[in-house]
Amino acid sequence: MKLFDYARTSRVSDAVGLVAGHPGGAFIGGGTELTNLMKDGVLAPDLVVDVGALALADIGVRKGQLLIGATARMGDVAEHPVVRERFPVISEALLASASPQVRNRATIGGNLMQRTRCWYYRDVGSACNKREPGSGCPAIGGQNRWHAIHGGSDHCIAVHPSDLAVSLTALDATVLTLGPDGRRSIPIGDFYRLPGSTPDQETALRHGELITAVEIPESGPAAGSRYLKLRDRATFEFAVVSVAAALIQAGGVVTDVRLAFGGIATRPWRSAGAEEALRGHPLTQATIAAAGRALVDGAQPREHNAFKVELVQRALADILEDFGGRK
């Protein structure tokens, strides 16, 4: 790990000012991601600003919006009664993430900013357009079992790993930030970028811009939402594929539905097509199959990950069964 300066402050404006004023500056929340990346030489900040002492850890509902502070810990958010009861998909996604020790420390801001688990990105001996723009993407012709079937480009097919981000994508969350130019509210759909020809630019955040909170609207679908995560082992593993579903039915038909997917795309993947196939229809074998087909429409499987095309459709059918749908 390269030597760096460390600072801790209880003032948000100081934290932002410090990082904004240093091209090589970075925030640190729980450190469960940044320490790994620094050890591996993937990131090498020369200034690390600890956000742990900022008063940004509140969780609560205000004006019909759930506000989760950026320094709230994954474990505390997962077990918060309001989150469990009115936004269960968030709680389920968090409890299916990492391990209890990691969740005790990892923050919501750090979780949203975690980097891909693509092994070529993590290995500084490999080329990687995300880590070293222009060096190439060995995943496209290499080992790509974990990689994306949606949202990839000729430059990058790395999957976004955050379960939390998938759940927030289903619930139309907004990321609140404070940067050197002031505050911004960024809809989560605009927060994560597709790789295109600039896979190194992963989010809409600018240098020195701090996530202060995420805001999630209360709704009927949110209250009945669910998360399903399929992994290579029962627990303590990243998703091979995952589904966040928020859905309500009235008079036997789906009246409101939001579906987001993890493990299959370069960013948390909302499928308007799958939602369209269900909205206004009853949950039947035929409509569920149609939603699955719409979900994988245009998918670009690679040598080792073609199984995800089938698996994610089955995961969708499985979770819709929980809402009373028949497979």
């Binding site: 790990m1 390269k2 030597l3 760096f4 300066d5 460390y6 600072a7 801790r8 402050t9 209880s10 003032r11 948000v12 404006s13 100081d14 932002v16 000012g17 410090l18 904004a20 004023g21 729980g30 450190g31 469960t32 320490t35 790994n36 620094m38 200034l47 690390v48 600003v49 600890d50 900022l54 008063a55 940004l56 850890a57 509140d58 205000r62 004006k63 506000l67 502070g69 950026a70 990492a98 391990s99 209890p100 020790q101 990691v102 005790n104 420390r105 404070l178 050197p180 130019d181 002031g182 505050r183 911004r184 509210s185 809809p187 701090l210 909170a213 805001e215 029962a234 627990t235 303590f236």
Partner: protein
């Protein structure tokens, strides 16, 4: 427009809160949640960033002062600087749990936090569990159940188990397996570890 409105309506506030990197606090209306006004935090002098720091760690009840580079993990500070070798370095990447310690009573992986981030906190390692010759109930249960072979993962397993039981995540074998999943055992002693955690949880006197 009040800042809180700018936040809740999603409109972008163009107000400049920082001038040329210098810190200036934002003023604004009162909002029910502190996080609605992130820039209004307690006044504090900003200590200059530094590459080394003197850190106080209260390790198993004893105050220990140590000067460390910022990049030194809590695990390395404990093992290499303070001679506390109960926490083990397995993967150094958060994946195995061998380095698990309690910080302020909560289990964390000491390989993934920096010693400077833990200044003035209570750290409990496996060395701090026994009372003299009397083993902690979790330690006793691990011996009783033969819950290890090589023992490399054991101190981490025990620290994780102590927290797992306090958290109340021991209702069933499945729940124990899930909530102990951050600790790997290469010798595959999982069935006995689960039994040991179950026994210790039932014993109640932690």
């Amino acid at each position: 427009m009040a800042d809180s409105d700018a936040l809740s309506t999603g409109e972008r506030s163009r107000r400049n809160v920082l001038k040329a990197g210098a810190a200036v606090a934002v003023s604004g209306g009162v909002a029910p949640l502190a996080l609605a006004h992130p820039a209004v935090a307690a006044e504090s002098a900003l200590p200059p960033p530094a590459s080394t720091a003197e850190v106080t760690l209260r390790v198993n009840g004893v105050r220990r002062n140590v000067t460390v580079e910022s990049r030194v993990t809590l695990l390395d500070a404990l093992r290499e600087r303070l001679g506390v070798t109960g926490p083990k370095k397995g993967c150094d990447r958060g994946e195995c749990g061998a380095c698990t310690v309690l910080v302020e009573g909560q289990r964390v992986k000491s390989c993934m936090t920096l010693a400077v981030m833990e200044d003035n906190r209570d750290i409990t390692t496996v060395e701090g569990l026994a009372r003299g010759d009397e083993l902690h109930p979790v330690q006793a249960a691990f011996i009783q159940r033969d819950a290890f072979q090589c023992g490399f993962c054991t101190s981490g397993q025990i620290m994780s188990a102590v927290a797992c039981i306090k958290e109340g995540h021991t209702g069933s074998h499945a729940e124990i397996r899930d909530w102990m999943s951050g600790n790997l055992c290469r010798c595959g002693c999982y069935p006995n570890i689960v039994e040991a955690v179950r026994d210790a949880a039932k014993g109640g006197k932690l």
